[in-house]
Structure formats: C-alpha cells, structure tokens
C-alpha cells in the first residue's frame, strides 16, 4: 500500500523524536558553562565519522528494585549532570532533557578543557538518546535506558559511535576509549547508588565496522579539542597583553 493512501494519523513515537535540523542552535548559555563548538554545527551519526564503529553496552542491575523503569529514567533525566564524574560537566538547557534540546559539555581531558555538546535525539519514558555534533570526539549517539527483567531493573548505557576524525581515533586507541568506559561506569554506579543499590557494571564491546572512513578525514577541521585549546591560549594571551598595557 502506498503510504499516501493511508489515513493520516500521528505516529505513536511522534513526540519522542527531535526534528531534523540543519544546524544546532543554542538558546542561552547556562551559568558556568564554556560554550564553544556547538552553535551552528551539524549533528553527525554513526555513519559519518572517521574511525572504527563500536557498539558498547554498559549494564548494571538493581536487584529486586521497587522502582519502575519510568521512575528511574525520570530521575536520570532530571538529575543527569549529577551522575557524571566531576571532570565531565554537563549543562542541560532550562527545558531539560527533551527532544531537540542541546546539552553543553565541558570535559577535562589530557589535552585540556574541551567544550562541546550533544542534542537530545530521542526521549520516551524508559530511555533517552543523545546525538553528537561536528567536532565532538565521537560521531554517533548514546542511549540511556532502564528496563524490567523479572524482579530486577537493568540500567543500561549503550553507545553506537566512531571517532569523528583521525586525531580522535588515535586518542581513542591510546587512552580515550578507557576513559570513556570509566565515565559510563561511573554514571551507572552513581545512578544505582542514588536508588540505594550497589552496582556491578558489565561492559560488552562489539566492533560493528572495523573500516576507517577516509572520506570523513576532513572532520578534523571541526575538532572541538583543538578549537577549545586555541580559544584557551588566545584568551590567555589577550589577558596577558591587557595586563601589560595597564
């Protein structure tokens, strides 16, 4: 049947998805956030990055929890920054974790502070997904969810992403992949602790595509780590020049 022959009706998931946008628009910078490398950037996807495509699944089980997945995900969205490790600061918009909203990120990395962000791609009562923009270390998305399995609740973080450019690919192979693993392990442990439960976090990794996408090598011009480094050095130089002038 031709889809145009069907009665028009609102899909059940219509409110869950962000609308496709040409470029990201950040409305207002939350207090304390360094806002670079997000405004005007395009969102990417697991298909658009440079490096190998990995799916990583982190899980923690709340044994015999009295909470429902929806209750847990509601708290996860509302207090999302609190569950991050201190070196990974997230700044949701005042609207919160809702489809289409941008979340700014200030991360401390071995290369210094990095300012980037993500957009909420999808959100329902049991899960939400963040998609990365140009310049972010990864090209892809990460889904946070909770589900009922027998009498237990399984908390899950699942990433489907590849390094955005060659510099990030090298960094991931040397050190950043392990750092990222520790971030999501921290998030699940902190979330479980919030609900009064200890957590043993399991990790399953699958290389979905081992190929490098050389056609995407130009992504390096958006590299948020490099742009933030240049911004930091130039702003310090400006302060130095102003200090000497006075």
């Amino acid at each position: 049947m031709n889809p145009s022959d069907q009665q028009p009706r609102t899909p059940r998931d219509a409110e869950n998805w962000a609308k496709s946008v040409d470029r990201l628009n950040v409305t207002g910078t939350p207090t304390g956030a360094l806002h670079l490398n997000v405004q005007g950037r395009q969102t990417l996807s697991p298909l658009k990055g440079f490096g190998q495509l990995w799916q990583k699944t982190f899980q923690a089980t709340l044994v015999g929890s009295n909470h429902t997945p929806a209750e847990i995900v509601r708290v996860w969205k509302e207090r999302f920054p609190e569950f991050q490790p201190p070196e990974n600061r997230f700044f949701p918009s005042v609207t919160g974790v809702k489809p289409g909203e941008v979340v700014l990120i200030n991360a401390s990395t071995p290369g210094g502070i990095m300012s980037t962000g993500v957009m909420v791609m999808y959100s329902d009562e049991d899960s939400f997904t963040l998609i990365t923009p140009q310049g972010h270390p990864e090209s892809g998305w990460v889904t946070f969810s909770a589900s009922q399995v027998d009498q237990n609740i399984v908390l899950q973080v699942q990433t489907l992403a590849r390094a955005s450019d060659p510099l990030y690919e090298v960094a991931f192979r040397l050190i950043a992949s392990g750092m990222q693993d520790r971030i999501w392990q921290h998030v699940l442990t902190a979330l479980a602790a919030h609900f009064g439960a200890p957590a043993v976090v399991t990790l399953t990794k699958q290389c979905v595509d081992p190929r490098l996408q050389w056609s995407e090598v130009g992504n390096i011009r958006h590299n948020a780590q490099l742009h933030t480094l240049i911004y930091t050095i130039s702003s310090r130089l400006r302060k130095l020049v102003r200090g000497n002038a006075t």
């Binding site: 049947m1 031709n2 889809p3 145009s4 069907q6 899909p11 059940r12 998931d13 219509a14 869950n16 998805w17 962000a18 609308k19 496709s20 946008v21 969102t43 990417l44 996807s45 697991p46 298909l47 658009k48 495509l53 799916q55 791609m121 999808y122 329902d124 009562e125 049991d126 899960s127 997904t129 998609i131 998305w141 889904t143 969810s145 699942q158 489907l160 979905v208 595509d209 190929r211």
Partner: protein, 119 residues
C-alpha cells in the same frame, strides 16, 4: 514503553533482489528478528526494506538499522527502502540514514528504478 509486535517477511522479487516487509514496531527487541530476515535475504545483492506498515520506532530500532546497513555494505550489498511516512523520513534525515539508503515512495518506484516489473 511497552514493546509492540513486529513481524517480518522476506520475499524475492527478482533474481538477487529481496524485499523485507516490516510490520509493527522496530525497537531493540527487533534485533534477532531483523538478523534472521537479513540472513534469509543475504544471498541477494539488493535488499529493499518495506516500511509501509511501520508503526513505531525508537532510537534502539534506528540503531539496528544502522548496524544492518553496515553489515550489508560490508557484504557489498545495496540497501534501498520505501514506504516511509514524512515522520520517519525526517528521522532518517536526522540520523543521516537517508544519505546511505536510497528512499522511494512506493514499491513500484523502487522496482522501476531497478528495471524490473512487479511479479
């Protein structure tokens, strides 16, 4: 969100061309069913996804389509699709799947592009 039902059927429309008819909800729970359908169609050089009866899709479901696409690309197969409503076309645009999977409105359009007539 309670996972809904999904049924998949694979039919051959020409030599080395198969259509996977998707009916219902594409979520993370569709993993094994999609894998089975792809395996049934895996001898085809062109696989066409029929989304005419797609009722619901979440981000895990779109992730499964990405992995299906990668698998097909690595096997040298072409992936096409038809039957997406405007809403799901927008999701394909958001996730850049529309840049890797050629989209058509209806089945006859895709078959015509492949120079085959309906069986």
């Amino acid at each position: 969100m309670t996972p809904g039902k999904l049924s998949l059927a694979v039919r051959s429309v020409a030599q080395h061309i198969s259509i996977i008819d998707i009916h219902g909800d594409v979520t993370g729970a569709a993993d094994s069913a999609l894998t089975d359908a792809y395996t049934s169609a895996s001898t085809s050089s062109t696989i066409i996804l029929n989304f005419t009866a797609l009722e619901y899709m979440n981000s895990s479901g779109i992730g499964l389509l990405v992995t299906l696409l990668i698998r097909a690309q690595r096997q040298g197969q072409r992936l096409l699709a038809f039957g997406l409503t405007e809403h799901y076309r927008d999701i394909f645009e958001l996730t850049r799947l529309n840049e890797a999977i050629t989209l058509f409105n209806i089945e006859s359009d895709v078959l015509e592009s492949l120079n085959i007539s309906r069986i």
